[in-house]
């Protein structure tokens, strides 16, 4: 039994509303605290005033121009990674699946690092990462023969091998790069929100993806039971798998382009949410988006403040917060799960 035993059929609607209410409240609080904290602390009350009235002033500039884009970017990227992870786990029918497992981030990293090593920055970095991610997405699809028929194990192995290949190229690039560029490269690899470009309508990707994922969530529930079972109950299995594959890959690619390869969120958030509310994708997918966003915004705030004015790579903090929380959650549910 899931910890809260929330599922759509045996749970009153108010508990589902309560759960999502709590997640949204947590997201809002994390966002506000995150806008307040940093190398300059802005009092919470002032943050709220700034958000509502947009007065001129240095604090207003810090909050609106520097921190707000970063908080939004953190929330969107965290949500994307968690959603991509949850989709990949169902698609590959493997609890160890995560957004980077099929090499999309490796491909993006290789071409981003190439851009850095050529002294390029800004839009070239984005374009490079974008190209690498798309290239990998199609390579995995073609080499695993998924156009003809989908085999989760073959896709997984193809992706893992291609990811390993990119890993070797990354090591090569790091080995031959001059020390001056190394710091930049390592930060990119570990994932960091300070690269996030203001403007860009990348958040639209998340909104469209959430709508699509919710639309297909009932079919995904059946897909988790088995391909034939799903087909016999009326799911167009191949179509659903191809859509899910590209959806998860595009989410991953957008997240990586926006913030590099931030680890851990895509693997652990879906599982943490599963432990709390069960495996029904209609609840799991939106709850994962919220939880992933919250974790990344919170981790990024700590990354900015712990050793301020020095910034830590946010990927380090997602893992440092997530590992103990997840282990505790696993312990408490494992104890209750015995029938």
């Amino acid at each position: 039994m899931a910890l809260l035993n929330v599922n759509l059929h045996s749970t009153p609607r108010y508990r589902i509303v309560l759960l999502f209410g709590a997640l949204i409240a947590a997201a809002a609080i994390t966002g506000l605290v995150s806008l307040a904290g940093g190398s300059v602390t802005v009092p919470l009350r002032e943050v709220i005033d700034i958000l509502i009235e947009r007065p001129p002033g240095i604090n207003s500039q810090i909050v609106l121009d520097l921190r707000l884009p970063r908080v939004i970017s953190g929330f969107v990227v965290g949500g994307m990674l968690a959603l991509a992870g949850a989709l990949m786990q169902v698609l590959l029918r493997n609890p160890l699946a995560e957004p980077y497992i099929l090499g999309v981030s490796g491909g993006a990293s290789v071409f981003a690092l190439l851009a850095i090593s050529m002294g390029l920055a800004g839009v070239w970095l984005t374009l490079g990462a974008c190209f690498g991610a798309l290239l990998t997405m199609f390579m995995v699809f073609v080499f695993s023969g998924s156009g003809a028929g989908w085999n989760p194990l073959k896709v997984l192995l193809t992706g893992v091998v291609i990811a390993a290949g990119w890993g070797a190229v990354i090591s090569f690039l790091l080995a031959v790069s001059p020390a001056a560029k190394l710091h930049n490269m390592l930060f990119w690899l570990m994932g960091d929100l300070s690269f996030s470009q203001p403007g860009g309508h990348y958040y639209l990707v998340l909104i469209v993806a959430v709508i699509l994922a919710m639309y297909f969530s009932r079919g995904l529930n059946l897909l988790a039971v088995g391909d034939l079972q799903a087909a016999a109950l009326g799911v167009s299995v191949n179509r659903l798998r191809i859509i899910t594959y590209f959806l998860a890959s595009i989410l991953t690619a957008t997240a990586v382009i926006q913030a590099g390869s931030i680890g851990f969120i895509g693997l652990i958030i879906p599982h943490a949410v599963r432990l709390l509310i069960g495996n029904d994708n209609r609840l799991l997918l939106p709850a994962s988006v919220l939880a992933g966003g919250i974790l990344l915004v919170f981790a990024d705030m700590l990354a900015r403040t712990l050793l301020a004015p020095r910034q830590l790579p946010v990927g380090v903090l997602t893992a440092l917060i997530g590992v103990p929380v997840f282990l505790l959650l696993l312990q408490s549910t494992a104890a209750r799960q015995r029938p």
Partner: protein, 255 residues
């Protein structure tokens, strides 16, 4: 009136041919049993008849429409399949699992949820699973999971029932209970049933017709009274068979 017509059906798995130019007609009210040794292709043939794999050649007509031309969702309202096994990488609860049977009838966000839940409760009760509805599927025994799969099929409420070893893992009591229940549902709905079974005596008890698959692309079809006899069964299993008569029925046992 439900009719299934297989026309010149050729089915293969890998390089192995299972049947060649096979014709079969299943009409409403008929109960078919399928018998054959291990690995002879019973499941493959069953999946082909369910429209889950394409035949090499020939076609299967369900109510005069080719199976391959059906949309999946529409087909799922007409044909239900009981599989041999199920996976549970991400297990759901018993209630959630049984409600999956309503998938072909639900809109995106299920509106008739309340009726579906009533149907689910009834099906679980019929299969003695009412006490387990909040259990995770992966904590259940083999027989309980089998009954859960059958409850799911009751909710799917198809016209054509294709069952792959429905009595697997079931004790005597539940074997009879489940087959009685399914036969009654098929009859009430004026549907048809085709099931793979290894128990000849259950087939002669519940089926009107049988398909015997001795291998080498041969298929022997007909009414149970015609095709099920000592000689055919010995040929089918390549094993000597004892025949016993009791209370006007014939029973067969491996020697």
């Amino acid at each position: 009136m439900l009719t299934v017509n297989a026309e010149a059906l050729t089915v293969s798995i890998g390089q192995k041919l299972i049947c060649r130019d096979f014709d079969l007609e299943i009409r409403a009210g008929e109960h078919w049993g399928m018998l054959g040794g291990n690995g002879v292709g019973k499941t493959t043939l069953l999946h082909t008849l369910a429209g889950l794999r394409k035949p090499v050649s020939g076609r299967i007509m369900l109510d005069d429409i080719d199976l391959q031309d059906y949309r999946r969702l529409r087909l799922a309202r007409k044909v239900g399949v009981l599989f041999q096994d199920s996976q549970d990488t991400f297990p759901a609860t018993v209630k959630e699992t049984v409600l999956a049977g309503r998938f072909p009838y639900q809109s995106f966000w299920p509106g008739g949820q309340r009726e579906d839940v009533i149907l689910a409760d009834a099906a679980l009760a019929q299969l003695n699973l009412a006490q387990m509805q909040d259990r995770q599927v992966d904590t259940m025994s083999g027989g309980e999971r089998r009954r859960l799969a059958i409850a799911t099929l009751l909710l799917q409420d198809p016209g054509l029932w294709l069952l792959d070893e429905p009595t697997n893992h079931l004790d005597f009591h539940h074997q009879i209970q489940v087959l009685d229940l399914i036969s009654r549902r098929v009859r009430d709905r004026n549907g048809a049933l085709l099931m793979v079974l290894h128990d000849v005596n259950l087939i002669s008890r519940y089926c009107s017709h049988a398909i015997l698959m001795p291998g080498q692309e041969q298929l022997l079809c007909g009414e149970v009274a015609e095709v099920i006899n000592k000689a055919n069964l010995e040929n089918l299993y390549r094993h000597p068979i004892h025949e016993i008569s009791s209370a006007g029925r014939k029973y067969y046992f491996p020697a």
